[in-house]
Amino acid sequence: MIKYFVPKSLKEATEILSQNDCYILAGGTDLMVQKHRSASLLPTFEKDVLFTNEIKELDYIKVDKEGVHVGSVTKYEKMLKSAQIPDIFRKTIEQIASPGIRNMATMAGNIGNASPAGDTLVPLNVFDAYLVLSSTRGERKVLVSDYIIGVRKTIREKDEIIKEIVIPNLDLEFDYEKVGSRKAESISKVSFLGAYKLEGNIIKDFRVAFGSVSIKVVRDKEVEKKYIGLTKEEFINRKEEIVSDYSKLISPITDHRSTKEYRQKVACNLLSRFIDNIK
């Protein structure tokens, strides 16, 4: 017999999770699709379900010296309208699904779902954003990039729940591109975020992440380090080498949305264009 829980506080939620193995259901925009059978039939949840809808204390956006804290129950639409959310995140969110879905969906839900095509996972990686996971045992902080380990696989322990996402402050120039088949409601074929900081003529920071081209977001700090500290001219002259480095890191697949050849080519072209546009 499947049990349904509707906790009203984080404390109550962690107590339930310490005793029960649950699906954690926020807006439902991922899980309700995955568990749907057909019209008028109940979705098939094969284990207990914990709804986050009534945990009002986790509906917040706060800023402090660490960065922006987004409570896990906060809807995308609220983030999109908040001046406290970094512009590059709002640009990404604006291209996710549709207004109706953004009214329901949460970023924590997309992180928990761990889809290779989750659009906000790309900037979350570039910002080194981290999660605060809460349980009756206490709290721990985990980088989003470490939390997701594969397609729909995370390191969440059964008794843990995402309390909040922390987006550290980051002052860089950004170039984001989502490639999909239409403007709205599109699941990415490829997504790309490049970021850099120039001080004088020196590349002081350089970060790149790709979505939808591997089992999880591709970012490699070792590759980034190779190119940080170069002059702008040196950096641009090594464009072919940079593109080649990343070309080896990505391993796209062919599915109903696109082909591996297309994804490989477009991902490299987006990186190439990003380097060309560095001013």
Binding site: G27, M32, S38, N53, P99, G100, I101
Partner: protein, 155 residues
């Protein structure tokens, strides 16, 4: 599980499985068939209802998530004075052909005009971006929203 919300301006209490789709509760349990099921996975917007004046895809909404909220379907909107202005604008401009997307389109248009009485073309298209129409090619719908806006849906 007992779930309470306001449906079309009237409080309602249901004893229902909390994971049941709001769409099925409306159509199957309450016989409000104005809300349509298209794709069933959040791509088409035919199932759009307003929850606290915001568009929601009812095919992805577990009914528990409307607890204590106000749900408005096309049947409820039909009783409101703003309905006539928007529905007439759709009829006059050819914004509805087969009609399957129309309940969703009209509710989304209402939600838009309520917040933004004089939207630009771009704002209209952005607001309607989650609703697919296979008949009109969209321009007629955008025109209808503009006409409704000009007629001053004082929303």
């Amino acid at each position: 599980m007992k779930i309470n919300f306001v449906l079309n301006h009237k409080p309602i209490e249901l004893d229902v499985n909390p994971t049941r789709r709001l769409l099925d509760v409306l159509r199957e349990d309450l016989h409000l068939t104005g809300t349509k099921e298209g794709c069933g996975e959040g791509e088409c917007g035919a199932c759009t209802v307003l929850v606290d004046d915001k568009p929601y895809n009812s095919c992805l909404t577990p009914v528990l998530n409307v607890q204590d909220k106000e749900v408005l379907t096309i049947e409820g909107f039909r009783e409101m004075k703003e309905y006539r202005i928007i529905a007439d604008a759709f009829a006059d401009m050819g914004g509805s052909q087969c009609g399957f997307c129309t309940p969703g389109m009209i509710l989304v248009s209402y939600a838009l005009l309520k917040n933004n009485p004089h939207p630009t073309d771009e704002e209209i298209r952005f607001a309607l971006s989650g609703n697919i129409c296979r008949c009109t090619g969209y321009q007629a719908i955008v025109n209808a929203v503009k006409v409704a806006s000009e007629k001053g849906v004082k929303l």
